[in-house]
Symmetry: C2
Subunit: 306 residues, 2 copies
């Protein structure tokens, strides 16, 4: 067992020590990579592009290490660069974990039977090809399809974040539809309660079963919290998508060092602030990056103290 400790225990202990729940998202959207790091045409499968993005994200990882508990690479942007992007992602995950950063892979995977076992084995299992600490999952194929991930979470101390209510404007197309008196996202939350109970951490009482609930829907987040009192919340939508720090922690509850119970993600407001994108020297980039990072840390620290 690489990590005998329950994921939720590890994560919550770190966020208590740091005093904030910030998760830094790694979304290497090519058109937004800062000037200082750009090389050549930035075409997705160009060797220069791969080297440029890797240099940028290595610096990001080095600068956030020790300041946040966890980072969240969005695998779509690495797949955009083909297998070389996946090789880069593999190296970045290893670098982050060596620097004592936890890694939550935003992959939104979901499939049936041995195919789900394939995904669980790829990222969470004891012999994972690209080991990470947690992964995001899509529940549309049914709760049984989450089981291979639950087994890996139990066996090697990993975490699972299941999509419940996503942050996008059209998330209601299916998630808000009325299913016998309750919205579909509420039915998904109800269906996760057995897994929540299976993955409780003995130290903190939090579960390694998490849910994705966008900061753009604070009322719905409170409803999901009622259904899943011990689930960790992964909250996207803070920062670039317009939600405030206070909205983002709607589902959090009082803990030993302020409100706790999840992660608030920020990707672009930190990676791609205007001053950081335009910086002409390494020194000015680093200072602009730190300013954006500190702003998020300070806002969230204040929100969980309140």
């Amino acid at each position: 067992m690489t990590h005998p400790l329950n994921f939720a225990d590890r994560l919550i202990e770190r966020t208590r020590t740091l005093g904030h729940p910030l998760c830094v998202g790694l979304d290497p959207h090519l058109p937004m990579i800062p000037e200082l790091f750009r090389r050549g045409s930035m075409a997705p499968d160009d060797a220069e592009t791969i080297a440029a993005v890797e240099a940028f994200l290595e610096e990001v990882i080095d600068r956030v290490a020790g300041r946040v508990a966890i980072i969240k690479p969005q695998i779509a942007f690495f797949e955009r660069m083909g297998w070389q992007g996946m090789r880069m992602l593999d190296g970045l995950c290893r670098r982050a974990r060596a620097a004592d950063l936890m890694v939550l892979l935003d992959a939104k995977r979901g499939d049936i039977g041995s195919t789900a076992e394939g995904y669980a084995g790829a990222y969470l299992g004891a012999d994972a090809a690209m080991p990470v600490d947690a992964i995001t999952l899509n529940p549309y194929l049914g709760f049984e399809t989450l089981e291979p991930f639950v087994r890996a979470a139990n066996d090697v101390g990993r975490g699972l974040f299941v999509l419940v209510k996503t942050s996008n404007p059209g998330s209601g197309d299916l998630q808000d539809r009325d299913v016998e008196g309750e919205p579909l996202f509420g039915r998904v939350a109800d269906g996760l309660s057995r897994i929540e109970a299976d993955l409780l951490g003995s130290k903190t009482g939090w579960s390694s079963l998490g849910v994705v609930c966008g900061a753009t829907w604070p009322d719905q987040a409170r409803q999901v919290r009622d259904a899943l009192p011990k689930a960790l919340f992964l909250v996207p939508g803070y920062g670039a998508q317009g939600a405030s720090a206070e909205d983002a922690v709607q589902s959090f509850v009082p803990g030993s060092n302020g409100l706790e119970g999840g992660l608030v993600n920020s990707s672009r407001a930190i990676l791609f602030s205007e001053p950081a994108r335009r910086a002409a020297s390494h020194e000015s980039w680093a200072s602009a990056f730190d300013e954006a990072l500190n702003k998020a840390i300070n806002e969230l620290s204040a929100a969980v103290k309140a």
Copy 2:
């Protein structure tokens, strides 16, 4: 434009010529790789494993070329082997397309905004890092999240297969729940009708908007066909999952050379028949493989003639 022709037109013209709708799934589940090709421990990230699986699947591609219209690699099994698995998949897709096989990537992707654009760009766009002809998608995040894929389908003649009713026993957990008098999978089908209309082929009248409907649920497949008369059906569950050829073509309709309107997938019954798994010589493997392939082709040819 690499492929100016509409995906549905290209696919249906090929299945008419061949006289059957068989799609061969590439599911390299490591414990099942035939004896003849196994090398070393078959650990997922071992260089010998990568070489063994690649040699096996190259032979499979060469043997099915000219016999079927399309193959369906399941990306989970390649991700299981890390970035080296993705590099292998990239090579296999290129080999297949060079042999005039279409490639449907079974990835079940789904995400929001520019992240969805990342996936669409990675696999479907004009400058895709790993170009394929079609992809499977998960609709849980809402219909707007399909738009980047629809644009790529229109621009470069690609196909989209959206999960509607999956073949697994627990697919009903969410998909069968009653949404204001209709099951959720029916609501998904209804929501796809505008995209169906946007992607019609001028030659055959079929749409490059497809749906995934398991052969294990023939009644539900007929219901989805009523909602989407021009959608292509990708039908898993035939063969190893127990559904008959007749069940698999429940959603098909009379065309110019028998029943048409979709693809019936078979992966393991073809790749991993007992005689093929145990074959001691290349000749006996090839003959066992061809026997399993011919059985599926013959059953499905008969089912669409009936």
